[in-house]
Amino acid sequence: MIKVDRTKADGMYAAISEKMPLFIPVKSAGEVNYAPWEKGADVSLDTLKTVKSAKDFFFPQSETMMRFKAEGKKIEIIDDRKEVAPFVIFGVRGCDYRSFDILDKVFLQEPVDTYYKERRDAAVIVTMACAKPEESCFCSVFGIDSADPKGDVTCYADDKYLYFKSNTDKGAKLMEIIGAFGTEGGEKEVEAQKKNTREIMEKLPFTHLDLSVFKPENLNKLFASEEWASLSEACLGCGTCTFVCPTCQCFDIRDFKTNDGVIRFRCWDSCMYSDFTQMAAANSRTTQLQRYRQRFMHKLVYYPSQYGGTYSCVGCGRCVNKCPQRLNIVKVIKRLGDKEND
């Protein structure tokens, strides 16, 4: 383990970013989000949740997939993707780190989505252990240990030091750079911190949510629950919950005409929108109740049924913090857990 004095952190960021692009939580206009590190950046390593999750790195909000040129009756398809150069994502919390597994199951399952895979392979991930989980956190419900996330390198922080531990070959390479800014040591402090974090976690309001009712065999029973009506009543269908969610993965594919041919791009979409399932003559989800139910059934029942039991929620609490109507997955879990558990 390498221990780096926080006063030396900027030098370390500079050294890493000389080798490859470094993305790190940066405060800008009052919000903390991942941004490329540059000299003078207001790095905010202690922020637990960036507004946008880290999924953007692999599944960006919008990306060009291909271009088309047409001449007469002929069409040319152009895939001019460049090779993705290695880059570092610094400061990924345990919840967001788990979200990569959840996205992997979708995008890396055959047929592999190469847009996603190229970026996923190029990334070196430095996770960040949580020292002070907050009230909206409930990652532990999904078996995530925020005190000790994995990734290529794990970073633990206290007020004075950053501690680094490498977990993979990629991580070991990065440690060669980090090593120059610190000294060996810190195991004892880190162990104490882990214990402390786990104790805090244990006492948070949502950590004892009961998921037992959410299993594939209850799919139809949960779908038919009377509770969806009141749970979804206030939903505006704004889609905020889906955009901030690290595991929401629905996308749209669209064409855009430019002066120089057509660009086909994909962008995030939301099952909360009324036109998401609109077809020429019919729509399979015409009410907000149906769309609301879809989002949470997907997270808690459909996804686990499709992908070997893993829930598609990491308990990051972003939807808890961001919904303008104070709706969220915790309320769904509690209510259905209470009402539908025999």
Binding site: P111, P216, L219, N220, Q249, C250
Partner: protein, 275 residues
Amino acid sequence: MINEHLIPSIGVITDIRRDTPDVKTFRVLGLDGKKPFEHKPGQCAMLSVPGVGEAMFSITSSPTNEEFMEFSIKKCGCLTEVLHSLEVGQQVTVRGPYGKNFPVEGEFKGKDLLFIAGGIGLAPLRSVINYVRHYRKNYGKVVIVYGARSMDDLVDINEIKTEWMNEPDFNVYLTIDRPQEGWDGHVGFVPAYVKELGLDPTMTAVLCGPPIMIKFTLQGLLELGFDKSRVYTTLELRMKCGIGKCGRCNVGDKFVCKDGPVFRMDELDELPDEY
């Protein structure tokens, strides 16, 4: 180029046939003059006109057709309207095949088969029917009930009249919704016709058409004694990726693009009623 499923290949339209006032059948080949790819009966493909959009269509030609691939397309929105305006020689893009096929080499083998279609619902069935004709000895007798709004709306009536109706052990029943001059065949809706025909409930049935037709026809079949585990249909939901990733076409924990579009009625019963 990297092998990416969402990147289509070029398809050339080599023939366009007007079937009905709002359905045209397009013949599509790859740039090399061959079929764009192999498929199985019931599978679909994504066609697109760049700048307009991409959408899913059943491959209506049979896999046994080694020369070309065909799509019967109903005009109903942006893309389909542009497709209908295209001329022979125009290039489009095509990717696929997608979805599960009808079990022509599984449950269908050796069975008497009943095909029931309404309107454009014939598109996916045409592929299976011609497959069955090609491997005729592998299947029992075949009954086809096909209906449309009017006699002008029957898709591919030429092939039906000149080929299917002359096939040994093929019984083809046509019907149109309302009486029409020049039509001396049956008049009435498909579900009612199916009941009138008093079909043998031991046949394996395949139903394709508008949801309302499927619903009532299924009721009729059940009344005749058909078992849901031997009735198949296809679902149609909005699709974008075709490969189970964009999250758009699910019914419960199934993606129609990947786990469908072919479903058995007893499988559908297990899913939430949201399609």
